[in-house]
């Protein structure tokens, strides 16, 4: 319960199909399509929306500085309150959090959170991401979004004995789930051997351990409790939080407080603890029904499971191999196929939230987790430094 007594629910979800490129749809069209679908699922129009929050991550990807200014027209938000959130990969869920503040404060009843990405619009997205690093101390390693996770994974292998076969089990599961998700970008089954035989990007990461770059849009409609219509199916936001770690990866190497080091995801565990506390979750292993977690590479999903309290440190790898986190397992992780199969950067974290909301609403189609009443969504960004967690529930908690 917020201090002002206002509960917040996600009532509408819109996603475009996610693909490698969106030749037919420009960025503005992706925003509009996602918005219209989200509004349609809760029988609202833009006239019903009090405020808009735009999720727009690195503008360098589209070559327009402060592109939120042009987006105002695309979303039909002229005259409305609109603001933009940019926290790297966590942007999509941070934008949901900004919208949550607006509704939970009692200021607004209906907020549209929307974003899109069209990575193919930039000449070479990887070159842009290579420039997020400190130019003097880290960029020349070379530190990239791939090598940062490769180093984390190799550290985790050293401390906890993770194997490449365990990483492959994550990839096989996510690709199998994505076959059930019509919006997923990568929709093909893979085997453990195929993953292990795929080419190395940077040891121990292989091509089929890695996320794609996707184009598409996502939107959610947040509502106050007082303005809910009887036809609305609420997915209540019972906890939401973010935590940021140090910018310099070097500051995260070696043992740290709480026993974490760069092989783990300390900031994710901090954000999760806060969200659980708000929601009154005491034992995540028994109280959480499903998880949509932002894992850009397969080993990230393994340490995320531990940071979220679903497994003890160093034990999640074998649990993935044993099917504990499969769609029909004890706690399904990424029933949508996850980031490994869909990665529209500005909204990847919002897609996690949207999929979690669909699960709680019972609207996830073939990927529906039976009895999903408490579902976690996470985001990750920066130098594997930003993490956010949202807890969506069928009943009001906290």
């Amino acid at each position: 319960l917020s201090a002002s007594g206002h509960r917040v629910a996600a009532i509408g979800v819109g996603q475009t199909p996610f693909r490698k490129t969106s030749e037919a749809d420009d960025y503005a069209t992706l925003l509009r399509r996602a918005s219209q679908e989200a509004l349609g699922t809760c029988s609202l129009t833009m006239d019903d929306i009090d405020s808009v929050v735009l999720a727009l991550a690195p503008e360098s990807l589209m070559g327009i500085n402060h592109a939120e200014r042009l987006c105002v027209n695309a979303i039909a938000a002229v005259g409305k309150p609109l603001l933009r959130v940019q926290t790297g990969g966590t942007t999509g869920l941070s934008a949901v959090q900004a919208g949550y503040f607006q509704v939970a404060s009692g200021l607004f009843d209906k907020v549209l959170v929307v974003g899109a990405d069209r990575v193919g619009e930039s000449g070479d997205a990887q070159k842009i991401f290579n420039k997020i690093w400190d130019p003097f101390y880290e960029r020349s390693l070379p530190l990239t979004t791939i090598s940062m996770i490769a180093m984390s994974a190799s550290r985790y292998m050293h401390t906890h004995g993770m194997t490449e076969r365990q990483m492959a089990a994550v990839s096989v599961k996510d690709h199998a789930n994505a076959l059930l998700n019509p919006n997923a970008h990568i929709r093909r089954a893979v085997t453990v051997d195929e993953v292990l035989d795929s080419r190395y990007l940077m040891w121990p990461l292989k091509l089929l351990d890695a996320c794609p770059q996707s184009a598409g849009g996502c939107a959610v409609v947040l509502s106050s409790e007082r303005s809910l219509d009887t036809a609305h199916v609420p997915a209540w936001i019972s906890g939401i939080s973010m935590a940021g770690d140090t910018y310099f990866v070097g500051d995260r190497v070696g043992p740290r407080s709480g026993g974490f080091d760069y092989g783990d995801a300390e900031a994710l565990s901090v954000a999760a603890r806060r969200a659980y506390e708000i929601a009154g979750i005491k034992d995540p292993r028994t109280e959480i029904d499903a998880v949509e977690t932002y894992a850009s590479f397969s080993p990230v999903e393994i340490h995320n499971a531990e940071a979220l309290g679903l497994a003890d440190a160093g034990t999640a790898g074998p649990m993935f191999e044993d099917g504990v986190f499969d769609l029909d397992g004890e706690i399904p992780i990424n029933p949508s196929g996850g980031t490994l199969c869909t990665n529209p950067i500005s909204v990847t974290a919002m897609v996690r939230f949207a999929e979690a909301a669909l699960q709680v609403q019972g609207r996830a189609g073939d990927r529906q987790v039976r009895g999903a009443e408490t579902v976690v969504a996470t985001g990750a960004g920066g130098s594997h430094q930003f993490f956010n967690v949202a807890l969506l529930t069928k009943e009001i908690r906290g």
């Binding site: 917020s2 503008e59 404060s105 420039k131 997020i132 939401i240 920066g382």
Partner: protein, 359 residues
């Protein structure tokens, strides 16, 4: 909105353009200054809100670097990248919502950090539509269009000269040239805010968690957006600023904007200040130039405003700090702040601060 929120401390670092101090140090000093001024430790803060502009800061994801010196390590943080006014609103609402008890809010601008040749002005030009407008338009060019419309309506530039004299009379951070030159017709260099570097931090707190008695209360906020296309917009009437003002003063329980004792308005140009005076309701349409000439706009931009020096993108948070100072002494009870973002204020945020706890 039911939970009273106050600004309990401020910190600022202001330097001439081209300062040798790096951005991280500047942000750290203002954030630390706000904490120290309030007697806080970083552990007293449970929310960090920043306004970071990637291209102005010269980075693809600025907050990766800048959130840390703003106090974000392992804290609940968010970067509102569209406007420092939007960041203020988000910090405020996060406390009202009960998500945070005490928030450290920071914004900044250091033109020398930008990666675009030509500095922040060149980076700003990249925000214009690349196909139809970028070859002709920039923030300065659109400001010139607005100024021309204002002066045409006023029938002269006496009001503009009065605003320049008023705002640059005191508290000037960046001296204007003795021989102003034409920047974008009809704007001359002394009629446009000169660039400085600076970082600005505030601690906002729920009242039930603080025992500091030197509060400046947040009484009301409003923010609205206009079209991105200058040719779609009413650059003189500024309807979205009028709407944001109505939202803010209405939420503050104030019937008339003329009830304010102090106004910190957007004066990217002197013409913009005149138009803002009318849009926020300080005077009727077309009356501001005469009031300026008569010396009756003394309550506007007592800090010297942006014309006395403005850090790119995040610098307008200084108007909040200035208003806190105005309200901390004397008999001033209410202050209105306008923070604009985008080309000649496509995004408008209005904040009403008061010395008395809001009802």
């Amino acid at each position: 909105v039911s939970r009273p929120v106050a600004i309990v401390s401020c910190g600022e670092v202001v330097s001439p353009a081209g300062t040798d101090e790096n951005l991280e140090d500047m942000i750290f000093r203002s954030a630390q200054g706000a904490l120290t001024a309030g007697g806080f430790e970083r552990s007293d803060i449970d929310g960090i809100v920043i306004a970071a502009s990637d291209q102005t800061d010269g980075r693809a994801i600025s907050s990766m670097l800048t959130a840390g010196p703003a106090g974000a390590y392992l804290n609940d943080e968010i970067n509102i990248a569209s406007s420092p006014g939007h960041a203020f609103v988000t910090a405020y609402l996060s406390i009202v919502a009960g998500a945070h008890r005490r928030v450290l809010l920071s914004s900044w601008g250091n033109a020398s950090e930008t990666s675009s040749a030509g500095g922040a002005e060149a980076a700003e030009r990249l925000s214009v539509d690349p196909y139809f407008e970028r070859h002709a338009l920039s923030a300065l060019a659109v400001a010139g269009m607005q100024a021309r419309a204002q002066r045409s309506r006023a029938g002269g530039e006496e009001g503009v000269r009065a605003v320049v004299a008023k705002n640059t009379n005191t508290n000037t951070f960046a001296a204007h040239s003795a021989k102003p030159h034409l920047l974008a017709y009809p704007l001359r260099s002394d009629e446009v805010a000169p660039a400085i570097s600076g970082s600005f931090s505030l601690v906002l707190s729920a009242v039930d968690t603080t025992d500091i008695d030197n509060h400046t209360w947040v009484c009301g906020v409003g923010w609205r957006s206009d079209s991105a296309r200058p040719d779609d917009r009413d650059l003189v009437g500024l309807p979205h600023l009028r709407a944001a003002t109505a939202d803010a003063i209405g939420r503050a329980g104030v019937a008339d904007a003329r009830a304010m004792d102090t106004y910190e308005l957007h004066d990217y140009t002197a013409d913009a200040e005149l138009l803002a005076c009318e849009a926020v309701g300080l005077c009727g349409d077309g009356e501001a130039p005469e009031l300026a000439v008569a010396g009756n706009l003394a309550a506007v931009n007592q800090s010297g405003g942006s014309l006395s020096g403005e850090a790119p993108f995040g610098g307008s948070m200084r108007k909040v700090i200035a208003t806190c100072a105005h309200l901390s002494g004397g008999d001033r009870a209410l202050g209105l702040i306008q923070i604009a973002g985008g080309l000649v204020g496509q995004f408008q945020t209005v904040i009403v601060l008061g010395r008395e706890k809001p009802l």
